[in-house]
Each structure stands twice: as structure tokens, then as C-alpha cells.
Subunit: 456 residues, 2 copies
């Protein structure tokens, strides 16, 4: 009833930019992973901040849930409309508004994808660094505080968003942050909205930090007999201050998957993939010093690639690793995990996880961002075998508990959504109540992405 | 009445660690700058998080204000007890709790000063990077989101605090963040408490990120005819990706002050001071490339120092600049400003400020962190001349308005306290209401550092 009145007002405002077709609803109610279809009651296609403000004011008046939707690449069911309502599809708010070359920042709309952004930036000599793998929208990346392969050098979304425009639950529009590089002026609302997954406000504009495209890049791989040697080598490299732009690891199972997928012949033991950005001289020196340091930890088969085509072949192996892992088990889907621990506990976390997987009925290659202590097991599941999904969920639960026991977090970069809600109490204790208090203060009617992140 | 009941309960808990002596009250009610003395009604010396929790529970029950006090180096009257209450002096909670060398982090108590921390870290090969100049306590630095000369490379407190323990207004104790390098698990409460200036909770433990001490350091200075050339040179250096560890500027007046103070003979024009951290080879190369780039922008007198004693002489000049500026006017005190703008507007902001100062009755050398767009005018005031203080305040007001007009912030690193409260509405608009809503949610009785940061 309240919903019907709201939809009739929304239709007046939005015209044919409000859709209630079943195909549209289903397309926005699904998930990349194993969550059940939960379609909204309507999909709106805002074209401006003013549109979003008017939609929110109407939904607020009627108590109708509002869910923001970017590129749909979330892995934890963030956009599932579990209590119905209106999904805001930001595909028509995907413009670059201003490139500030001298300040190395860019003002964009939330529906823009990171690949489209970097394509437009190519001629400027600048790039946007955050790379979660998927071609996510920058709004979605902000809402989940995303990161990825370049975090060890360039940081997460938390480090790369300078300012936001946000529409509050009742339709008020605010700006957080400035284009200045730093500020001590009041509470860090930019940081608060980053990672709030659409539960505190809807992001309608972002000012992103850019970096200069490096003059030169060197990359390399090396093999270790044991995971713990690889991790200790990386700790030593970090402590020496070598500025790695990327430092990734694959366990033996992941390497085997990559070999099978790409026809490569890499030795099937734990591997590190590394990349350096800088001048011709510095990246050559960095790669050489890297080789010297890791040799002390038993690395073998060190190969350095400075030619773009060799480097590209190397990172293609890494970037295809997820598909390569899926290829190990034809017809499989994956439960993807995302724990992050202090790096001194990374080897233990990985090795215990490997043993747990080995004792289970399923396979699960492991790869991750070793410089951050963040790794993913790709738990391979035959969708027709409920016992396998159960095994995967139970392995994932033990990974999460292990991460907390080791002083880490249940999600390094994918976010809470629905998939990690059950761990909020264990991870945060009374701090989860504080989050809930903040949610209540900013969204007293609970219309913003209800059922996610906080209690209730 | 309520206060008396509270103090009698506090005395029972704290014994002689609760002081009501006039000298103690006055020592905690002053300010480094021009704010009037505003002493609390009592000073407490907690020794543990449990102490703080019990104090807060008592003050919460009785509605008594609570103000956290570190090293007393704040410049904006943050610790003034303008509504009385209890000041918590953290000098007895100043220990290093755990050094995690492999993870390059350290767990400390809030009363520890950054110099004491770095002294203890010396043997580990690690250091804590944030350098606001003063020997502040890390708790105070966190509460004001401090930064300083190394921010361009190592970031602000926002980038260097991984986790906090916080006592809430009612005495509940929470933990925010983890020792993992990143997390997408719920709202970023660590970021929210950083810069909240003791208005949302009292920090009782911090986990700080450390960096490896660089193997080699090179430093240099160079002169420019015009401020705008210096700024454009720095923009070019940043875009080339040269990893400057420090990049500071002094205007001609500041150089004149330094010459007079140190007996140096630097040409009295705008100067840049730069520092690189890395390997022997990389810092030499960085300094050379820096020299090449700035030469294109008319730099002259480029001098590079790699020997520790030369480098030290150079940075001593920079570090003494504040005292050198005060030395220009015997008996003077200073109104210190702290604006931060997008770097493309920095030259304009500085030049307009210089012209404004030149047209006033006082002097004001300018120096700052050019890589961040952050600068300070040291407005020199004879305390016996009210007209000079008025002139300084009015110049400061125009600097703040100018910073906002240019897309910047009224405080890059000093915080709001009492000194910048009048600009919160102008800078944040409705977002200031959101800050106030959060304050009300977390501290409904308004006992935490009342009269600071938010409305009311």
C-alpha cells in the first residue's frame, strides 16, 4: 500500500526511467555468487543527483527500501533486495565530470566503471590505481571500500577517495571532504560513507585521487618450496623499503590450475608475482634487489620481465587465475573467501587453510595479495551436490574464525553484504552496536539497503 | 552539586590520582596560543583503560564534562575546559605495549610522545613517520588527525593508525580496526574517531603502522624567483612519480628569518627543501632527476646534501623556522594559520595571502608542506598591541575564506578545537548536521569535550 503510493509518485517523477518489468527486476536481484534471487519491486534509472534526492525523499516518506546498484560485481549479495523496494541503477550516471590534471584528481559519477575511467585518462599520463579485478563501478568500489592487486603501493579506496557527494536517507544532499590532499576539519565523513555499502547514504559523485603512469615497469615471478618462505621473503622486502607496486602469491594448486588453463609450464610450487613502477633505472635496480633478497629465503626460478609483452603474459596468468581455478572442475561454481590477517600470521593462516581443504571433500586453490596479508580460497563446488556447498561454507566459516583468532578480519576487500553479516558480532563486539547507533542516527526509518552491515 | 557528587566518587576510585590543586588545574586549562585560560574542575591521572572506563561511567552518570589531555601541544584550544569538568591527563599511560616487528606495527598507550616512541624503535630498523613538528602525544595526534613534513610520502595519522581501543561516553570499551593492513568489515570507526578531538570517545590504545628506516637519504634545497614557479615545479615532480619523502617551502620572509636566526646566507627568495628516502643508488638518482625537473621551472642554487651532517644542517634550518620567524619580532607571539588547498591553487592562495599581509600592520612569513597544498602564515603579534591581534585574526579569517573559495579546508593538520569552530558551517554545510547527529548518537549527554567540533 505504502509501496504503491510511492511507486505512483516515483513514476510521475521518473517516467519511463522507472521500470517494473520482471526481467529488469530479476536482473537486479541476482548475485555473482550463491545468494538466492531477491528482486526489488522497481528499478529506477536516475540521471542526476537531483533525481536521487527526489527518489529518496519519496521513499523516505513512504518507508520504502532503497538499494544502490553499480556494475553488479559484488560477491557477497550486497545488492539483493531482501525486503523489496527500489533499486537505483546508476548506469545513466557514469560520466567523468572534471579531470584536474594539475591536482591529479578526477570528479566522476558513481556508475562509471574503473576500466572506462582509465581508458579516458590514458592521454593524461595519469591513472586510477584501485584494481579489484572485476570491472566494477567506482560507486560500488567506494561503497565496499574495495582494493586489489595494487594496494600494497597505492592503497585501497579509503586512500583514493578525496571527497563525496552523498544523498541522505531523507533526500538532503551533502558534500564530504574537499579536493585538498588532507584535512583535519571535523569528523571524517568521507571515510564513514566508504564501506557503508549504501546503508548510510547514496553516493552520487566521487573525487578520486590519481597517480602518474609510471615511466617504466618491471615484473617477475619466483618459486618457493614452502608458503612460509615466500611470506618471510615478502616481509623482508617490505622492511627493506623496496616499493613493490604489486606482490601476489599463488599456492601450488593455483599454479597447477594456471598451467592447465594457459598451457604454461611453471613449477607447481608456491609462487610470488611481483611488479615495480618507477624510472628505467629504479625498476631494474628494484627487481635486482628483490631477486637478491628472495634468494636468501630459498627462492628459485626467478624470472624478470621488463618487455611489455613478457610482463603482460605473466600478469595474464595471474588475472586469469580465478577462471583457471574454475577450470579445474568443469561445471563448478565457487565460494570465494576473503580473509586478511597480520602478515606475520599469513603463512599459518594459509597453511592451516590448505590442510583443512585437503581434509575436505572439495578442492580450493589459494591466491592473494601477500603484501596486505589478504587471501582468497576459491572453493570449487558442483552446484548439483549440496554436500559440496555445505563443505565449502563450513571451510569458509573456519577460515573466518581463524582470521579473527589471528587478529585479522573476515573481509579484506569484498565487504559484508549478506555473506559476512553473521561474523559482525564476533569481529566487532560492542563496536557493532556503535555502527548500529550511527545507522539509526542517519537512517532512522531504516530504508537504506536494509538487512545489511548492521543489526536488525 | 552534580559535580561534587561526581568528584567524591572519582576520589574514591582514583585516590591521589585525582587532583584539584589550582596549579594543576591552571596547567591543564591553558593553550599554546592565544586562547584564554579555561581550567577544569579536576585533573585525573588514569593508569589503565579500566580507570578511564570507571571515570567515564561516573562522569556520564552525573553529566560532568570529560576532556582528554596528551602533551598539551594543540594550537587551537582543543583541551580548554570551557564548561569545566574533569581533564584526563594521559602522562601515566605512555607505554609501548607490543612491537610487532614482522608486521611493522606497534601497540601503544595514548600518552606516549612520538619522539619517545621513535627512540624506543631505533634498534628495530623501523620508525613511526608522522611528524607534526611538536613532540606531541600519539593520542593527541590521533585525536586531531595530525600530519606534517612526511605526509607527502608516508601519509597522515589517518594512514598510520590501524586500530584503536576507545572508551565510549558511558564507559563501555570498544576496539576498532584490526592489525590486518586493510578491512572491508563494516563502518570505518577507526577513521571516525581519528580527528574527532575527544568528542566521540576517549582513545586508550593505538595500533600504529611503522615504516622501515631508509637505507639512504638525500636532501636538497633550491631557490625560485616566484612562488608559482616553485609550486609548478613540485606538481611536475609529483606527476613524474619521484617519491619525495618531504617537500617543504619557505617564502622570502621565512628565508630571511632563518638567515637571521641561524646565520645562514641563503638567497632571500622562495625556496624548496626536499628529501628522498631509498637505496644509495635510488636517492642519488632521485635527487638528480629532481634537479633536472626543477631547473625547467627556473630553479637556481640547487644544493644536494647526502652527508648526514649537511642534511641535518639543512633540516635544522627548516625545523627552527617557527622560532626564527618569532625572532623577527622580539617579544612577539604568533597566530598560526593552517589552510590546505588543491595544489593547483596553492600559488594563488599563497600570493594573495602575501599581498594581504603586506597591506596589513603586521608581518607574517609563510612556510608549508607544498606537496600537500598545506601552508602556515606565522602572523607576528605584539601581545601588548590589541590592534595587532585583531589584524592577525582578520588576516586569518580571510585566509580561511580564501581556502574554502579555492576548494580547500580551513585546517590541514591542526584541527578545529575552538579556533576553527566558526568555519564549520561554511566548510561543511548540511554535513555539519550529520556530524552533530553522530555526536548525539554516541554521546547523548554531551559530556565529551563539549563546545568543540560540532554544534551546541
Amino acid at each position: 500500500m505504502a509501496f504503491d503510493a510511492a511507486f505512483s509518485e516515483l513514476a510521475t517523477v521518473l517516467g519511463d526511467r522507472l521500470s517494473r518489468s520482471k526481467s529488469d527486476l530479476d536482473a537486479h536481484g541476482g548475485s555473482e555468487t550463491h545468494f538466492a534471487l531477491a528482486p526489488p519491486d522497481a528499478v529506477a534509472y536516475p540521471q542526476s543527483t537531483e533525481d536521487v534526492s527526489r527518489i529518496l525523499a519519496i521513499c523516505h516518506a513512504h518507508g520504502v527500501p532503497v538499494i544502490a546498484y553499480g556494475a553488479g560485481t559484488s560477491l557477497e549479495g550486497h545488492t539483493s533486495a531482501i525486503r523489496g523496494g527500489v533499486t537505483l541503477d546508476f548506469s545513466r550516471m557514469a560520466d567523468i565530470l572534471t579531470i584536474n590534471q594539475g591536482d591529479m584528481d578526477v570528479v566522476v559519477q558513481p556508475g562509471l566503471t574503473r576500466e572506462d575511467l582509465n581508458r579516458e585518462l590514458r592521454a593524461t599520463g595519469l591513472f586510477f590505481s584501485v584494481d579489484p579485478g572485476a570491472n566494477a563501478s567506482v560507486g560500488g568500489m567506494a561503497a565496499t571500500r574495495a582494493s586489489g592487486t595494487t594496494t600494497v603501493r597505492y592503497g585501497t579506496m579509503r586512500d583514493n577517495v578525496l571527497a563525496l557527494q552523498v544523498v541522505l536517507a531523507d533526500g538532503r544532499v551533502i558534500r564530504t571532504g574537499t579536493r585538498a590532499r588532507k584535512s583535519s576539519s571535523g569528523y571524517d565523513l568521507t571515510g564513514l560513507f566508504l564501506g557503508s555499502e549504501g546503508t548510510l547514504g547514496i553516493i552520487t559523485e566521487l573525487t578520486l585521487r590519481l597517480n602518474g603512469q609510471p615511466e617504466a615497469i618491471s615484473a617477475g615471478i619466483c618459486a618457493f618450496d614452502r608458503m612460509s618462505d615466500a611470506v618471510e621473503a615478502v616481509v623482508a622486502v617490505i622492511q627493506m623499503g623496496l616499493p613493490m607496486a604489486r606482490i601476489e602469491f599463488l599456492d601450488a594448486d593455483a599454479v597447477r590450475a594456471v598451467n592447465a588453463y594457459s598451457g604454461s609450464e611453471v613449477r607447481e610450487t608456491p609462487h610470488l608475482f611481483v611488479e615495480f613502477h618507477g624510472s628505467q633505472a629504479s625498476v631494474a635496480e628494484d627487481a635486482e634487489r628483490f631477486g637478491e633478497i628472495v634468494a636468501d629465503f630459498g627462492a628459485s626460478g626467478v624470472e624478470v620481465a621488463t618487455k611489455p609483452e613478457d610482463r603482460s603474459a605473466l600478469w595474464t596468468m595471474r588475472h586469469h587465475a580465478y577462471w583457471a581455478c574454475l577450470g579445474l572442475k568443469p561445471g563448478a561454481t565457487a565460494v570465494v573467501t576473503d580473509v586478511c590477517v597480520p602478515i606475520s600470521h599469513l603463512a599459518q593462516a594459509v597453511e592451516e587453510t590448505q590442510a583443512d581443504i585437503a581434509a575436505s571433500i572439495i578442492d580450493g586453490p589459494i591466491l592473494g595479495h601477500v603484501g596486505d596479508g589478504n587471501f582468497h580460497a576459491i572453493l570449487l563446488v558442483d552446484p548439483a551436490q549440496p554436500a559440496e556447498l555445505e563443505a565449502a561454507k563450513s571451510l569458509a566459516a573456519r577460515m573466518n574464525e581463524r582470521a579473527l583468532r589471528l587478529g585479522g578480519t573476515v573481509t579484506g576487500e569484498h565487504g559484508i553484504g549478506m555473506g559476512k553479516l553473521a561474523y559482525m558480532e564476533a569481529q566487532h563486539g560492542d563496536a557493532w552496536d556503535v555502527m548500529t547507533d550511527i545507522k539509526t542516527a542517519l537512517d532512522p526509518k531504516g530504508i537504506l539497503n536494509p538487512g545489511k552491515v548492521v543489526r536488525g
